[in-house]
C-alpha cells in the first residue's frame, strides 16, 4: 500500500450531551481507497462520516486532509466541503431545480465553471449516470433511484477529492438499489476515493478494498473484505454477519 494518506483521523470523539457516540477513533484513508463502513445501526457510522465534511463538529480529536487539520479555525468550511462530496440517504436534491440545475448549480455559483461549462459538465455526468433524457425533470418527477443517481452526479460535478456516501441505498425500493450500486461501482473503478456507509454486503465485498466494522462507537475490526467477511475475529462482528445472513 504505497498510496499517499489522504484523510487521517486522530483520536476523534463525539458526544451529544452525556452520550458518547464516537470514542477515540483513529483511522487513515488513502487516495483511491474504496472503504465500506458497516456495523449495527446506532453505532456511530453516519456520525463519523458527517464529521469528515464538517456537517457536524467533533467534540475532540483532529481530522487531517492532505496533512492539514480541517478543524483549524482559519480553514474555510465551505472550501473543505467542496473538496469532500456527500451523498445522502434521502438524496436531498434541490426540489425547486431540475436535474441539470441541481448538478450545475454549485460549481457555477462557486465560480469553478462558467454557466456554459457547468451545463456541458452536467450533461456529461447525466449521460454517465444514464439520465441524459431526464435533464429537465424536477426531483418530484424522478424515481428514488433516479434521484440518487442525480445526487451522485451532483457530488461528482464538484470534482471532489473524495465522496462520502451515507447509506445511499437504504431509502430505495429494492428494484432500484442495483442501478445506484452500479453507478457507485463505475465511480470506484474510475479511481474516486469513496467512503461508503452501507448495509449492502455484496457491494462491500465486491467493490471495497477495505472494510471497517463499527460497534459501540469504536472501530472493532478492519481489514480486506476477505478478512472481514470470511475470517472475522471479533465476536461482535461474527454476530453481526450471522444476523445479516438470516
Amino acid at each position: 500500500m504505497a498510496k499517499e494518506v489522504m484523510i487521517q483521523v486522530k483520536n476523534l470523539c463525539k458526544s451529544y450531551g452525556d452520550k458518547q457516540i464516537l470514542k477515540n477513533i483513529d483511522a487513515e484513508f488513502h487516495k483511491g481507497d474504496v472503504v465500506a463502513i458497516i456495523g449495527p445501526s446506532g453505532c456511530g457510522k453516519s456520525t463519523f462520516l458527517r464529521q469528515l465534511n464538517l456537517l457536524e463538529k467533533p467534540t475532540s480529536g483532529d481530522i487531517l486532509l492532505d496533512g492539514k487539520s480541517i478543524l483549524d479555525k482559519k480553514v474555510s468550511k465551505p472550501t473543505i466541503r467542496a473538496r469532500v462530496g456527500m451523498v445522502f440517504q434521502q438524496f436531498n436534491l434541490f426540489k425547486n431545480m431540475t436535474a441539470l440545475e441541481n448538478i450545475m448549480f454549485a460549481p457555477v455559483k462557486l465560480g469553478m465553471m462558467t454557466k456554459a461549462e457547468g451545463e456541458k459538465r452536467a450533461k456529461e455526468l447525466l449521460e454517465r449516470v444514464g439520465l441524459a433524457d431526464r435533464a429537465d425533470h424536477y426531483p418530484a418527477q424522478l424515481s428514488g433511484g433516479q434521484q440518487q443517481r442525480v445526487a451522485i452526479a451532483r457530488a461528482a460535478a464538484m470534482n471532489p477529492e473524495a465522496i462520502l456516501f451515507d447509506e445511499p441505498t437504504s431509502a430505495l425500493d429494492p428494484e432500484m438499489v442495483g442501478e445506484v450500486l452500479k453507478i457507485m461501482k463505475d465511480l470506484a473503478q474510475s479511481g474516486m476515493t469513496m467512503l461508503v456507509v452501507t448495509h449492502e454486503m455484496g457491494f462491500a465485498r465486491e467493490v471495497a478494498n477495505r472494510v471497517l466494522f463499527f460497534a459501540d462507537g469504536v472501530i472493532k475490526e478492519q481489514g480486506t473484505p476477505e478478512e472481514i467477511f470470511d475470517h472475522p475475529k471479533d465476536q461482535r462482528l461474527k454476530d453481526f454477519l450471522a444476523a445479516i445472513k438470516k
Partner: protein
Amino acid sequence: MVRIIFKMVVAVALALSAMVFVGCNESDPLANKVHKVSDLGKKKVGVQIGNTADIYASEYGGDTAKIDVERYTKLADAVQALKQGKIDAVLLDDQPAIYFVKQNPTLRVLDEAFVEETYAGVIAKGNEGLLDTFNLVLKEMHENGIFDSLMNTYINGTGSYHYAQKVKEGPHLVLATNAQFPPYEYHEGEFIVGLEIELAYYLADKMGRVLEIQDIEFDAVINAVSSGKADLGLSGFTVTEERKKSINFTDKLVDNKVVIMVRSDIKPSELDNKVFTVSDLGHKKVGVQIGNTADIYASEYGGDTAKIDVERYTKLADAVQALKQGKIDAVLLDDQPAIYFVKQNPTLRVLDEAFVEETYAGVIAKGNEGLLDTFNLVLKEMHENGIFDSLMNTYINGTGSYHYAQKVKEGPHLVLATNAQFPPYEYHEGEFIVGLEIELAYYLADKMGRVLEIQDIEFDAVINAVSSGKADLGLSGFTVTEERKKSINFTDKLVDNRVVILVRTGEKEASAETFTEKFHKNFIKDNRWKYIAEGLRNTLIIAVCAALLGIVIGFLVAMVRVNHEFNGKYKIANWVCKAYLAVIRGTPMMVQLLIIYYIVFSSVNINKLLVAIIAFGINSGAYVSEIIRGGIKAVDPGQIEAGRSLGLKFRTVMLHVVYPQAFKNSLPALTNEFISLIKETSICGYIGLTDLTRGGDIIRSLTYEAMFPLLSVAVVYFIIVAGLSTCVARLEKRLKKNER
C-alpha cells in the same frame, strides 16, 4: 240619581292597542271601539266595585244606550281584561289611569273626562273629635307646604319629598285602605306607600299614635270605619250624598276626574312607538350618537330604577335607520338634525317635550388662543354685518337662500375637522360638504387669508383631531360642557340647541319606492356613484401599497428570525422582531390605525392615505413574517444540508434553494392575508378617509337606504377578492410544475 257631586266626574277611556289600525276592523277583538264618551253606550265597560265610576256607569245612557258594566274587585284585573279585548274600556280615576298607561304602552286615556269629583277621607259618625283633628292637621299641612310637597312627589312627579312616621311606640291609629290605587295608596316592594298613606303618617304623628294600616277590599273600607274596626278610611273616596248618610267625610283632599281608558290606536308589534313623553324613556332602547351630549344625559337618566337602555351609534343616520326598523324605541338627538330627519322620513316624529336644552360652540385646541380670539372676533363681525342671520335663515329657519362661498383659493390651509352627517350644520350635498357651520368656516378662512380644508371624520374623533393638532378648528354641533372645557377651548356660542326625542309616528311608509327609483336615488342622483368610485380607488391604493410594504417588512423580520434560529445570530434584532410581532398581533387593527394617526403622527401633517398605508403595512408585515417563517421551517432541513455539503454559503442556500420553496409553501396563507388586508381597510373611515365602505356609508347617510349602498359595497369587495383569488390560483398552478 247620584248627580250631586262636589266636583264633576269626567269620563276617561284607556285604550288598548289592537293589531290593526284604530277601528279599521270592527271584527278585531283588539280594535278600539271607544273614541269619546258618547261611544260608551252598549259597550262592555269595566269598573272597580264600590268606586263612584260604578255608580255613574250604571246610570249612564238611560234605557236606550245602557253601558254593559263589568265589575272587578281589583282595578288591575279590569286593566288586564281591557288589554286582552274582553272589555272595551275601563272607567277609573285619572291618577291611577296615568300610572297604568305608563306601564302599558298599548293603552291610552281619552282626553274627554267622564266625570269630575273630589276625594276625601272617611270617619265614622259619632267620631267628630277625630274628624276635627283630621281637618285641622290637613289645614296645617296645606299651610306648612307638606301637602304640596307630597302632591309634587306623587301626582305631579316633580318632587321626591317623603314623610316617614316618627312616633314608633304608643296607641295605634288604625287606617283602613285598599292599597291597589296608585298613586294614593299602593304596594312598592314590601311597603304600602302613596299620598294618602303619608298624610296618615303625619296625622298619626300629630296625635302621638302609631299608624296601623289595614289593607282590605275597597268595598269593605267604609264598613270597617263605620263599624269601628278602623278609625279612619283613606282610599281615594269620592264624596257622594249617598255615602254621607252613613259616614262623615273629611275636608276635600284632592280633585279627581273619572277618565276612560281604552286600547291605543297603534300596533303593539315591534313597530309600535312606546315613547310618548320624556318620562317614558326609562327601560326603553334609546339610540344616541357616540360622543354627543345626548349620550351623557341618556346614560345618567332615571337613576337605578328607570335606566335607559342606551344604544350608541357612530352615525346618527344609523340610529335613525334602527329607529325606523323598530330596533330601538327612540333616538335622542339635537333638534335641527331631528327636523331634517323627520322631513326625510315621514314615519318619524319629534316629541314636543325637549330632553335637555343646551348651546353649541366651535372647539379650538388649548394653547391656540390666537385662533380662538380670531374666531370670536369674526363671529361677532358676522353677527353685526348680518351674514350670520342670513345663514341662519338659509339653514335653520328655511326662509332664505343666502350662501357664502370661499374666496381665497390659494395659500396656507385652515384645517376644519367635522363629522358631515349632521344636517343642517354640516352634511353632504352632492359631492360637497355644506351646512351652516361649514359656510361660517369659509368666512373665517377668508378673513384669515387661508384656504379651508375640511376633514370629514367620525364625530367622537373630532375633539381629538383638534386637541392633537391634526385640525385647527372643530365645528360639529358641539355642545358646551364643563367636561369638554377641560380638554379644549370653546368659541363663543354659535346657536342654541335642544336635545329632542325622535320616535316613530306609527304610520306605515307612504309608498314603497320602486327598484329603479331606489337605484336612481342611491347612485345616479347627484352623481352619488362617485362616492363608491372614490372609495374604491382609495381602498385599492391602500391595499396594494400596504401589501407591498407588508411583504418587505415581513420578509426582513422572517430573515432575522430564521437566521437567529439556524445560526443564533442577530440576538437583539430577533428580540425586537419578537416584540413587534407580539404587539401587532396582540392589538386590534383599528386601535393601531388610530394610534398611528393620532399619536405617532399627531403633530405631523401627513397625507391620510400614507398613514393608512403605513398602519396597514406594519400590521400586515407581522402576519406576513410569520407566514414566511412557517414556510421556511416547512422546507426539509436536508435541503440546507445538501447545499452546505456542496460548499455553498448559508446565504446562497437560503436565497436559491430555501426561499423559493418557502414562497410556494406560503402562497395560500399569503393570499389569505392579502384578502383580509383588503377587507380590513374598511375601517379607514375612522380617520376620515373615504374608502369603499365609507363611500357607501356616505350614500347611506344621504338616502336613509341601507340595502343598495351596503350591497353594492359588498359586491365590489367580493369582485376584488375573487379577482385576487383567481390570479393566485393561476400562479400556484404555474409553481406546481415541479411537482408530480
